[in-house]
Symmetry: C2
Subunit: 313 residues, 2 copies
């Protein structure tokens, strides 16, 4: 059983490129979203038993998420429905340069009510792998429950994957920085994106940072490099995964689907090489459709994409 | 100086008719909104000095509202910008039968931080008329500040208008029901919509309810009947205002623009008859455009609409 804890959101996307939300404009949404929710939905689509601890409001946005996750096979028993608070939301608009403007309601949404309920206790007790999303830890209530869950899963021989998914400013919060470092210290699979590899290991280049992190106890480091593909570092060396060339519509969720697929493949006993190919395929499929969770893939869909590439090569 | 207190929102509207928000769909927004904000924007467009006590988040949705209100002439000095909480929001979708589904974030949005700040004290001290929107009083913080403002404005000879704008369920909250009844007791212009006239005066028909309310101290009762027009009841009798026949695009905000226009016209010394004509024209213009505040009118625009009707007649 693979478990994660964290925020559930709806995402509303501007359909035009431009700066922010200063005037009424065409939008599309609500899409089910939230980095941990995207991750766990991708795990479920790969047919692996999984569940999520979270909280939504008693509104259509909450129901939309629960229905999607449950429909795809996620155990939603530990997602609570909070009666008097809105489901989290994120409005996003892309600028010309590919950067994004957001308007969030997360910290004071239903996500602030994530708690170690009896249902969460049961789900965590059944987990042999826990995925930690660093961004989630900016919700104060989630810090404690995550550290509790990490300790319990590790105590019974389970494993931890950790996607920092944090902005540098979050490390300025001393208490949050400490939590992230404590989680890193017990992480088996560490999955930073780009310069996130330097967050906990200042170094001249990624390979040097990876060496330091592996020396510090990380068994496997997966460096996500977006459209440039990914690399896996272990004590044995480095494996490169070539990216898939696809028509990018919306990159949101690609890192989460990539990460989920890599973790699942490794847990199914695949080589790092093969896991990377599946993970890159999953990331590639995600960016071809609008909506963060809309491009989550089954193994059959990933096999098709991989076969297409082989034929072209 | 005409002042109101209450919620500021963005509104996001579904562009298709149907049931709720169970899947991603085309939307349009964010539109500046919130019943008291629509009211005060309409007051400003009629050229009358006015201001609002409110609170928004430090996000594009807050800036959008402040820019609109300030641009139209509202004193926004008492609208605070809260650093770590989202601007209120409301998603709305119309059903086939004209009813609406909503997803709100109001009670735990920046609106929960409305307070009697120094700026609010100054604005209220300058008010000779206060408009109270009943819906706003479901925000606990607003109950106290509204009652304080009502008492101060009345104490120096000012007047109160009161639009209940409440659902029956809100009266089930005993404490809120008491607040609403205390405000009604000092109201000069009471402006219920449809069956709201019976909220505080159970009766067999609207005229009987109006009589009871006037006997209880209300100087003037304006009954809003949507597309059926409006009626003004006073101790002198009843005046009917014929509706304008327009192509309805979006009724949101019509009652607020109607009410603002009626109050402004009466304060400018117009007869109830003339005030009703302007108010009906303002309500009619509002429904012809999408967005709650987009159809707020100047006197010149209302004069044009009224002249067009006279020519057709």
């Amino acid at each position: 059983m693979l478990v994660t804890i964290g925020e559930i959101l709806v995402e509303i996307m501007a359909t035009t490129i431009g700066i922010g939300f200063h005037e009424a404009q065409p939008l599309i949404g609500p899409f089910p979203s939230g980095a941990p929710a995207i991750f766990i939905d991708q795990v479920a689509k790969l047919g692996v038993p999984c569940g999520m601890v979270g909280a939504v409001g008693d509104d259509d946005f909450g129901r939309l998420n629960i229905e999607r996750l449950a429909g795809d096979g996620v155990d939603v028993s530990a997602i609570s429905i909070q009666p008097d608070i809105a489901t989290g939301s994120a409005f996003v608009r892309y600028r010309e340069d590919g950067s994004r403007d957001f308007v969030y309601n997360i910290l004071r949404s239903a996500n602030s009510r994530i708690e170690l309920s009896a249902a969460a206790e049961r789900l965590i007790a059944s987990a042999d792998h826990l995925h930690v999303m660093g961004s989630t830890l900016s919700i104060p209530a989630v810090q404690t429950i995550t550290e509790t869950a990490v300790a319990r899963v590790k105590a019974r021989g389970g494993t931890i994957s950790f996607d920092p998914n944090v902005r540098k400013e979050m490390l300025g919060d001393a208490s949050l920085g400490d939590v992230l470092r404590r989680i890193l210290a017990v992480t088996d699979i560490f999955m930073p994106s780009g310069d996130e590899i330097f967050l906990f290991a200042p170094a001249d280049d990624p390979a040097q940072a990876a060496q330091r992190l592996i020396a510090g106890g990380v068994a496997e480091l997966v460096l996500k490099r977006g459209a440039a593909g990914a690399q896996v570092f272990t004590v044995a060396g480095c494996v490169d995964g070539a990216p898939f060339s696809v028509n990018e519509v919306d990159p949101t969720g690609a890192g989460d689907c990539f990460g989920a697929t890599f973790v699942v493949c490794r847990r199914l006993g695949m080589t790092a090489d093969r896991a990377l190919a599946y993970a890159n395929a999953a990331g590639a499929r995600t960016v071809t459709v609008m909506g963060p969770m809309e491009g989550a893939s089954t193994f059959a869909e990933l096999d098709t994409l991989i076969a297409e590439r082989s034929q072209r090569a």
